[in-house]
Amino acid sequence: MSQNTAVKEQKAKPVSRKDMTKAQWTWKEMKKNKAGYFMVAPFFILFFVFTVVPVFLSMILSFTSFNLLEMPKVVWLDNYVRLFLDDDIFLTAVQNTLIFAVFTGPISYLLSLFVAWFINELSPRMRAFVTLIFYAPSISGAMYSIFGILFSSDRYGYVNAFLIEYNFIDEPIQFFQNASYVMPLCILVALWTSLGVTFLSFIAGLQTVDVSLYEAGAIDGVRNRWQELWYITLPTMKEQLMFGAVMSITGSFGFGGIVTALAGFPSVDYCAWTIMHHLEDYGGQRFEVGYSSAIATILFIMMITSNLLIKKLLSKVGQ
């Protein structure tokens, strides 16, 4: 009802925006639309408590030494100095995280795009079926553990059995105990599970490109499907490309669980140890809150910068 009186007031005494200072005008708008604040409040209160505040809290705590029992002690940059100068495992973790992100992010992004593009011209029923096959691994919980069985070194290991049967090798390869196999295998499995939201978003994006654009393009001399993709389709679905990039990049930093399930915690020689694992180790197990907050802050900065960077790059596409 307040809405209604606000509307009436406005009609009775027309005040243009110029007559007020910016603060006055904002205040008036705030009062007029106060229902909006009530509606966002429940969500945003929780969002602040569980997402926004923790990010800042981690940043602050990263300058302290804190074990949850005694009061935090301010140590300024000590945690960061220790991370970069004294903690060899952390440096391995940074390296592995970057390798993981560089491989899984772009490859899963391109895979999503091309598979979505490949299936775009199938009949709707067929497209729904193929979509399910490609999308299912990303939602099937712990299904990726099957790779542990496929690549295991005992009697169940299908891959080893196959290689021995055809005389490629004489004895089974210890895939998850051998440092040179662990990373590539984990990346492979991560890719297997990576056709998620990005993929669906691209399928939808391709479906909504206006057909008349293709007709116009054909008249203007677009010769084949590649030119069509590059000159017409991709520029039209730029917003989807942006959203997909964000989802893929964020995802590419979050594959720690797969590594733990396949290669163990910790993996052999820390060969697939990522920042996520380091965080889990210091935060979830040793309760070195200050130190793990520093790790979390670094991971946060890495994720946000790579996202914003790629967003900036993508916004240049087609300009």
Partner: protein
Amino acid sequence: MARKLRVRKHRVILNRSAGGDAGITVMLIILGALMFLPMYYSLITSLKPLDELWLFPPRFYVTNPTLKNYGDLFKLMSTSWVPFSRYIFNTVLITVAGTFGNLCLGSLAAYALSKIPFPGKNVMFRMIVLSLMFVSTITGIANFITFSTLGLVDNLLAIILPACCSTLGLYLMKQFMDSSVSNEALESARLDGASEFRVFWSIAMPMVKPAWLTLIVYSFQGLWNTGASIYIHSEQLKTFNYAISQILSAGIIRAGASTAAMVIMMIVPVTVFVITQSNIIETMSSSGMKD
């Protein structure tokens, strides 16, 4: 129907080389096989009787399919400390409560961000977009402090409350409302004296059914797969996924039971997706990120 026509039309107009079509089909079949085989192999393994499980070399098919592994799985589960039904109850409770909370809070906020021009909404939406750019793991330790202050450690609320403010569903719903709920319909209802909540409930919500289904599906998938958590210590509060991961970690020796467990965990989200697929794709068509 319109969509189908469009595809056909698209085909007729543009010259598609037969070679390109063939190449794409071959690529799709190879990639599809690579995606599908691991799932197929777990399904097959879960149906193998003991003697076939131990065959060397392992086979990609099963001659005498049996459900014995599923029975074994439940026998294994019933020997755990806590009755197996308790794990399932916990998972269902978290999933239902978290999804319901996220749906209520998320759609209210999405409506306000999309349709009410209050000052500050752009900043709020920008924060939502930023939150999509990092994984929630990094807030874990700080949240642990919050929960211990609130006395919520070892309480399922520690999992449910953060799930209620998960942002992907809100983001998708807000974008969908921007593109498919017309302001005119809302405005005329407002002039008729309907309160903002009433407009939201009886006009906007029925128009965005695909978006709320999508929100439900994503929230559901995330919560269904909730595993071990640093906030939960008691065995009787652990989830189904946690119980299953314990069986998986017991190792390859239980290949039969563990593949059965994987198949059970997989079936629910995949079925949900099959039912809701067209709605999710429809929602995704407005998922684009501006600027």
